[in-house]
């Protein structure tokens, strides 16, 4: 009954962690995951991926999902 949370790039530095596991109890959306994992308000520029696919911040998450948060991408 847990969610795998991942942070990348500047968000990883801000949170001070690359990955952590949180209890799925009381969690409905990716936004809830963010709040629970970071203790911060969600930043609307932030990107979200659920199980390695882009998702909206208010998308429902399920037990065992990998939920990732990261800033705008800057590759290429």
């Amino acid at each position: 009954m847990s969610i795998n949370v991942r942070f990348f790039a500047s968000l990883k530095e801000r949170i001070g962690s690359a990955a952590l596991e949180i209890d799925a109890q009381g969690i409905t959306t990716a936004r809830d995951v963010w709040t629970s994992a970071s203790g911060q308000e969600a930043d609307e520029e932030m990107l979200v991926a659920i199980n390695k696919e882009y998702a909206a911040l208010d998308r429902t998450v399920a037990d065992g999902d990998e939920v990732a948060f990261f800033p705008p991408v800057t590759g290429g």
């Binding site: 390695k52 990732a68 800033p71 800057t74 590759g75």
Partner: protein
């Protein structure tokens, strides 16, 4: 089609030549369009000494695969090759290669640029630059159209 994420420097021109001779049928693809992005030693008015490219293993490959698939079928390409560096880079090293192969030039040009823009805006890579004054994350890619 090949998508490759690599930690070491590569020669993009050699990669295209090799890919073309190993994967393409001679006389079929009349048009090859290629873009190569190379690390500059300046950005936003500052000298850049080095760069680290972070990515999201698993998602990056999946995302690249999806966007190349889409462009290949939208433009009816014969083939496509994408290579992207991660890890530590020095100025002058190549970051990204996008090559598209088609019977006609319109499709090759359109798809090469489309893949490059989709990569820039959706593939999970992040750049951190080393300046004389310290490190900084690149915050946004510039528009490409």
């Amino acid at each position: 089609m090949r998508i490759e994420i690599r930690e070491n420097p590569f020669d993009p021109w050699q990669a295209v030549a090799d890919y073309r001779s190993s994967h393409l049928t001679i006389g079929k693809s009349g048009a090859s369009a290629v873009f190569v992005g190379t690390m500059r030693d300046f950005n936003e008015g500052d000298d850049v000494q080095a760069m680290v490219l972070e990515h999201y293993p698993g998602m990056t490959e999946k995302q690249l695969q999806a966007l190349v698939d889409q462009s290949m079928s939208a433009h009816n390409l014969d083939d496509a090759l994408v290579i992207h560096r991660v890890g530590e880079l020095k100025p002058g090293e190549d970051i990204v290669l996008v090559a598209t192969f088609s019977a006609h030039r319109k499709a090759a040009f359109d798809a090469c640029r489309e893949i490059m823009e989709a990569l820039k805006s959706t593939a999970p890579f992040w750049k951190k630059e080393t300046l004389a004054s310290g490190e900084r994350w690149v915050e946004k890619n510039t528009a490409g159209w």
